[in-house]
């Protein structure tokens, strides 16, 4: 059985293009995250798959069959809404049964599925209560239960963790991971939080500016971002982007000169890059450290210090203006306003060309 296929999906609201020729293929039991900032089109894409919005061009197929011409309830899809959308006047049991009743599933089958789902989600005691009598976490489990009993081919999750406080968020993350193992279906989760996507998804679909920017596993997306946007969006704190000019090559790898003069010997192959081109150097905090006393390094002024306990992030500004983020182990003594020198692991630098393409360093031997 094949999974979900989006073929060249486009959508406009009046004169505004919201999605532009989006194509994607998902395997039957994959957990996919649609990741992107607000307004990127990711929620629209989810709603098109669900049938809550129409598409202007393209096709949606599930399990080989075309579903974009079907009513939402006939697509074999279940959705967990951001605010749960539980029917307030119905008990939990009735909430979960509603979809099955509409589909004319036999009563004993309905009872069986509800009992099973309630047990998995530990809400058996709530079955005869109404949503208003339950906590937020319980309500979310009911929303998930309502989706489970429909035994869909595809689960859609709309920002499942956004509503929750930090403690509940961790718990729910675990539950979602467990859900994934229990059901025989694909899952698509929409989120703007890259940490959520990185921890839960098999593959991440990064959407921005009406298009898919990259599709890849968390590792791929982190280590080899397809363009500057992905590079900045994934990873916390974000990758720093330093303007530079390509100036020479050595051993097939380019060299780049930063605005204030320092030359970096990168591990990026010269293929596709022009000498003298204006580019951006991408550096993650883990590749920038405080230079040992007396050693060489880029001069920078510290602006902000973030002490996390096991490490410290140092937000600094280089001479000439660009911002950079360095890390130090433990509790660093650095304070805002200090002048420091930063050591850069140039071999880990990425290069982003002006045309948006990304060039990554060769793996270290």
């Amino acid at each position: 059985m094949s999974g979900l296929k989006l073929i060249d999906v486009s959508k406009s609201y009046g004169a505004t293009r919201v999605l532009d020729g989006v194509s994607l293929a998902i395997a039957p039991r994959e957990f996919i995250a649609f990741l992107g900032p607000s307004g990127s089109g990711k929620s629209t894409l989810l709603r098109i798959i669900a049938g809550l919005e129409s598409l202007d061009a393209g096709e949606v197929r599930l399990g080989g069959a075309r579903i974009d011409t079907l009513a939402p309830g006939a697509r074999g899809i279940a959705m967990v809404f951001q605010h749960y959308a539980l029917y307030p006047h119905m008990t939990v049991r009735e909430n979960m049964a509603f979809g099955l009743v509409n589909a004319h599933v036999p009563k004993d089958e309905i009872a069986r599925r509800i009992a099973q789902a309630a047990e998995i989600l530990e809400i058996t005691a709530q079955l005869d209560k109404k949503p208003a009598q339950m906590s937020g976490g319980q309500r979310q489990r009911v929303a998930i239960g309502r989706a489970i009993v429909k035994q869909p081919q595809l689960f859609l999750l709309d920002e499942p963790l956004s509503n929750l406080d930090a403690a509940l968020r961790n718990r729910t993350r675990v539950e979602l991971a467990q859900l994934r193992n229990r059901v025989d279906a694909a899952l698509i989760m929409v989120t703007h939080d890259q940490a959520e996507a990185m921890t839960l998804a098999d593959r991440i679909v990064i959407i921005n500016d009406r298009r898919i920017q990259q599709v890849g596993t968390p590792a791929e997306v982190y280590a080899r971002p397809a363009n500057a946007f992905v590079a900045r969006f994934v990873g916390s704190p974000a990758m720093a982007m330093l303007p530079a000019t390509l100036d020479g090559a050595e051993g097939g790898r380019v060299q780049a000169r930063l605005a204030e003069g320092t030359m970096l010997r990168t591990a990026v192959p010269t293929r596709g890059l022009e000498q003298g081109a204006a580019v951006e150097i991408g550096l993650r905090p883990e590749h920038v450290t405080l230079a040992a006393p007396g050693a060489e390094g880029l001069p920078a002024r510290v602006e902000l210090v973030e002490r996390l306990g096991d490490r410290t992030f140092i937000y600094a500004r280089l001479a000439g203006g660009p911002e950079i983020i360095a890390h130090a182990p433990g509790f660093s003594q650095v304070r805002p306003g200090d002048e420091v020198r930063l050591a850069i692991d140039a071999a880990a630098a990425h290069i982003f060309a002006a045309d948006g393409t990304a060039h990554h360093p060769d793996a270290r031997p």
């Binding site: 049938g51 809550l52 129409s54 974009d68 011409t69 079907l70 009513a71 939402p72």
Partner: protein, 295 residues
């Protein structure tokens, strides 16, 4: 919705849901409304006779002394009722806009008259006002004074109807004003208190401007309602004596069901409609023209 078929189904469903209401609305409101305009241009009676006369009915209305008298009566009534009603309702709303059992009970008392029908109200007040067995007459007798013929003295009938209507109509404006007062955010009053404002200043400079729109609504609704007084005039005084308390709507009723002149009656009705619409729009414009446009 998602597909062409889905959109079509939604359209059909839409018409199915609004259809029943629209059918009744069209048949029982829109059709008569248009018919009315047409009939007013005819000499017609209640039995279906029609004879086109163009604007003759309207011309006749302009020159009809009975209508002029009725117009005068109606305007006087409106003037006697709307300002005092608004003022009293405002005072009561201000006084009753507080928590506590007494206020709640009193609110219930002042609202109670509005649930009664016009026939009950006129029945009740007939036997207050009537010189023979009326409550006021009994009171005057106890004081050794002669009874006052409220319902048969041409100079007293209109005030009598006005008082009756005031008693009857008090509840609704109080309700509207209470709702308006409760929408004023409490922190404005707190800020005023901190600014050392006296109660009178607070009333004049803060409360009244804040409920301006509600006051306007009250005045507009009451003007429209009192220009259409019918039952009180018909039942308390029959429009008399000598037409001294005949209102426009009562005249319309008499012309159509007494003289069978449906065309003429309809023309008067359309004129009244126009007058009410103009007056309420005028009131709206006068009050809101200085306001900034609403967000």
């Amino acid at each position: 919705m998602t597909t062409a078929a889905g959109a079509w189904r939604e359209r059909l469903a839409g018409y199915a849901f609004v259809g029943p209401f629209l059918a009744v609305y069209a048949a029982v409101l829109v059709v008569p409304l248009i018919m009315g305009l047409y009939i007013s241009l005819n000499n017609a009676d209640l039995f279906g006779r029609r004879e086109w006369v163009g604007l003759a009915n309207y011309v006749q209305a302009m020159g009809d002394p009975v209508l002029h008298q009725a117009l005068g009566n109606t305007l006087v009534l409106a003037l006697l009722i709307v300002p005092p009603l608004t003022a009293i309702a405002l005072m009561l709303a201000l006084a009753l806009n507080r928590p506590g059992r007494l206020a709640a009970v009193l609110r219930g008392v002042f609202f109670s008259s509005l649930v009664l029908s016009v026939t009950i109200v006129t029945l009740i007040w007939r036997f207050i006002l009537v010189p023979d067995a009326g409550l006021i007459a009994e009171g005057l007798e106890a004081l050794g004074r002669p009874p006052i013929p409220f319902l048969s003295d041409p100079d007293l009938v209109i005030p009598a109807i006005a008082v009756t209507t005031l008693w009857w109509s008090l509840g609704f404006p109080i309700m509207l004003l209470l709702a308006g007062l409760q929408q004023v955010p409490g922190d404005i009053y707190e800020a005023a208190a901190l600014d050392g404002a006296s109660r009178w200043t607070v009333l004049r400079r803060i409360t009244l401007p804040a409920i301006r729109r509600t006051l306007l609504l009250v005045v507009m609704l009451q003007t429209a309602a009192q220009l259409q007084i019918f039952g009180q005039a018909q039942l308390l005084t029959g429009g008399g004596p000598g037409g001294a308390s005949r209102t426009i709507v009562l005249y319309i009723f008499e012309v159509s069901f007494g003289r069978w002149e449906l065309g003429y009656a309809t023309a008067i009705a359309e004129l009244l409609f126009g007058m009410i619409l103009t007056l309420t729009l005028l009131q709206y414009w006068l009050v809101t023209r200085h306001e900034e446009p609403r967000p």
